[in-house]
Symmetry: C2
Amino acid sequence: MLHVVGVGICEGHITERAAKIIGAAEIVFGSKKAIELASKYISGEVVEMKKFCGEVYREIEKISSKKNVVVLSTGDPMVAGLGSKIDGVVESGISSVQLALAKLREDLCNCVVVDAHSRDASGDFDLIEKRNLLILADRNFDPKVFGSRKVAIIENICGKERFKICLAEEAEVKSDYAIVYVWK
Amino acid sequence: MLHVVGVGICEGHITERAAKIIGAAEIVFGSKKAIELASKYISGEVVEMKKFCGEVYREIEKISSKKNVVVLSTGDPMVAGLGSKIDGVVESGISSVQLALAKLREDLCNCVVVDAHSRDASGDFDLIEKRNLLILADRNFDPKVFGSRKVAIIENICGKERFKICLAEEAEVKSDYAIVYVWK
């Protein structure tokens, strides 16, 4: 059995359902951060993942044919997460997208979520003509492309959070875990 | 103090953080379903909401100037929810959007979420040229507008769930709590 379980972003984000699934696992895989967030619910063996690639995922799937395995995913497994990459049953968690929308009090149905984390997402930028954009970004992302539009920059949610609203042409991303929200 | 707290869709979706906030409230407002989902965490007075309009929201805000108030929101308050309508601090919850994506193993960054629940959303349908659409729908919504595209219909998640993948021209929505996922 293989579950991919979202553990949220901050301490206390794990749901009751997720806690039960984690507690029942014989082996729990996850990044250092994901293991920290879930630690109090884990009773099985813990394996810290250091590589995130197809070879590792296939190996985990193989192990799950004999053992009850959980793969932890920070945030939600279906938001630029492991849910579409590993062949398991997905249990939802709270994502950084949700935390940003809660902070800004903006509804998901008014925006488009764009993954610009370690990838070129410029093909999606013209969606700004139709909707606000919520961009998952790292420090290589340059918000200035959106000119005089209003943006919010939210960095290191639940850590040393930085929050700023300004014009895109004045904005800068300083962290590798940033959300840039652009109003159309 | 006023918190708007997401309680998820199914039993067990409430996070540890949300449970604490609900437990500390002197008055808890919510729909019948939201109160049921949160009931084991509530220790204050419970008020079932039967009307969802500005007048009610302003009254709740007024009460919160004197009492510690929680308004429960099924799913996530920022997904076609109360978070943008009531002036409070939002605590995220698991939404039906996340459950649908988990079931389909589709990433949020590949789709656009459209609210067609009790409203005409046809202005958003041309986004199908750019991305898959995840449509929050009721029985008045007709998927046939998407012709020969592949769709998934998910109804009554965590209830008497109905799940079907077919062509849009053969699809039908039978419930008022449905998600229609359209592949571009």
